[in-house]
């Protein structure tokens, strides 16, 4: 892997981030409706309103506001949330671990389900399991994450399945004085298996909702690239060498099929992260996605800004990881 390649990708991320910041600024300054008006009761005097406008810098010209905004961003200052009256950076960083843990759980589930389906489909090529895999993945794919979330809730409600929680992150009966917001990790380190189990259980349905559509995509892409790889000349040669089918799939085809799969999974993973916005809301899961919807409804400009930028950084990081994984998978990328 050439360091230059990575460095170039990193540098390219900078203008992307700047672009995101500019668009967020423009978008949020043309909001009709005064966020300040929502912030205070009907009894406030014009002087009070004016004071608040000055506090949030909303009384200046657009250009001044932009300069101020960029300057703040560079210093890592995202401002103060209007609705929650806390530092945005603190708020977001506080909740981010919750969403990160959820997304990681989701991608693990998605890879497990998708990978199993794909390999099964390729191994039993041309027989009924393959058609079954195609049908199942097509069906899963047609239902977006938030509908899965609702369907799971429906399922739990109809069958009165009380064992599966459908809201929150940790059972109210458990007391856990966390040092960080990485409950899953922290409970493991501190050997609080009651906490670990409860967090995992609360995470199950939201993570599954997020994972299912991605798992279907992984199943499809991996299966078709495996099938494609299985028609290559080097696979033919491996057959002539006398290797068994399972060994050919594993040794010859899999690694070559992973490159397109990883590319697509990377892009789709960002959609999964974006999906937390609704899924967390539906399951009252206290991550940054949930926070985002409230921020929009409350027209909490600084908070929206902070959250959108956080998501953008997250997405760019995922894409960088994907780029790096190419080098591991494809020897041709290691030089040059």
């Amino acid at each position: 892997m050439s360091l230059g390649f990575l460095l170039r990708r990193l540098l390219l991320a900078i203008p992307t981030l700047v672009g995101v910041a500019v668009i967020v600024f423009v978008l949020l300054r043309i909001v009709p409706g005064d966020p300040i008006a929502m912030l205070i009761g009907p009894g406030a005097t014009p002087a009070d309103i004016q004071k608040l406008r000055e506090l949030y810098g909303l009384d200046r010209g657009l250009l001044d506001q932009f300069v101020l905004y960029v300057g703040d961003l560079i210093q890592g200052d995202f401002g103060v949330s209007i609705s929650l009256r806390q530092d945005v950076m603190e708020l977001v960083l506080g909740r981010l671990p919750i969403t990160l843990e959820l997304c990681l759980a989701a991608i693990v589930i998605a890879i497990l389900i998708g990978g199993t389906l794909a390999v099964a489909g390729v191994y039993w090529r041309g027989r009924w399991p393959e058609a079954g895999v195609d049908g199942v993945s097509g069906f899963i794919l047609a239902i977006p994450d938030f509908l899965w979330a609702l369907l799971f809730i429906l399922f739990v409600v109809i069958f009165a399945f009380s064992g599966l929680p459908i809201s929150g992150r940790l059972s109210h009966e458990i007391r856990f004085d966390a040092l960080t917001n990485f409950y899953l990790l922290e409970s493991l380190v501190r050997l609080r298996f009651d906490v670990f189990g409860s967090v995992l259980l609360h995470m199950l349905l939201p993570a599954l909702s997020l994972a299912l559509p991605l798992s279907a995509i992984i199943a499809r892409v991996l299966k078709s690239s495996l099938n494609e790889a299985m028609t290559q000349d080097y696979v033919l040669l491996a057959r002539v060498k006398g290797f068994s089918r399972i060994r050919i799939v594993a040794r010859e085809a899999l690694r070559n099929a992973l490159v397109p799969t990883v590319t697509l999974t990377g892009v789709q993973f960002t959609f999964l992260v974006g999906g937390t916005v609704l899924v967390e809301k539906i399951f009252s899961y206290p991550g940054i996605g949930n926070m985002a919807i409230d921020a929009v409804i409350n027209r909490d400009l600084p908070l929206i800004q902070g959250l959108v930028l956080t998501f953008a950084v997250l997405f760019i990081a995922v894409n960088l990881l994907v780029d790096m994984s190419y080098a591991v998978l494809n020897p041709r990328m290691r030089h040059g």
Partner: protein, 293 residues
Amino acid sequence: MSAILDIRDLHLDIVASRRRNHILRGVSLDVRPGEVHGLVGESGAGKTMVGKVVLGIAPPTAQVTGGSVRFDGGEITHMPDRARRSLMGAGLALIPQDPMTSLNPARRIGDQITDVLRLHLGMGAGEAGERALALLRDVHIRNAGRVVRQYPHELSGGMRQRVLIAIAFACRPKLIVADEPTTALDVTVQRQVLRLIKEMQENAGTAILFVTHDLGVVAKICDRVTVLQAGRVLEHGPARRVIEEPEHPYTRALMKATPRYDRPGDLLEPVPPALVDELNAAAAAYDRERAGA
């Protein structure tokens, strides 16, 4: 001397979306131990399919509808997969057509040679590694020690074909199917590779079924030749006889259609359409007769 490969009256159809195409119409040929047997024909003649049937890698849409393929005395036409796998490598091997796509891009050259040694000859990693180096030296790769650590994309086309030849000869098979092994190469490299194949073949005493469309290549490397057209054998015999005094009008026509720089006076004569029509009609008549029978 009994043949190492004996194909008798082989019939094969391709069945795709309810249509049945006859590809091989009663092909018979035999390859004797230690000879290079040319199987020559134009595209669509079915020559590649013969090689695939021998190796057991015909596509799933292909159906053998008659005849037999015997290898080293044993019937292998409808051999089950598992039994065939033990035959591959050690008994039968392939030199493929396209060196650019026939090596796995994600695996080192060394691993792609040692895996077959370990599978069939039961060698350990160290022994197989040594043997791979020796094989690469046999195919006149000068820097074998470095090449085993490289990936296919780091080698030129000619080098890759040398590696593939090394793989084919790795387990000293009795028969190698060479499927247009030099078609994808430049002429200067082609000559080197042809010589290499001949040298390896003579040293190991291996028989080769050499599939090609090029009468020039046949003339240079083959001991005997079978000419195929529309899935039927038109003529066969010693290479010198077929090249110098072709019996069948089609073979003669092919010779006349082949351009040669040393005879600028000769005008190229395309294969007469009437002859092609006649042969196709004969093939169709054969199909009808067989369907009726």
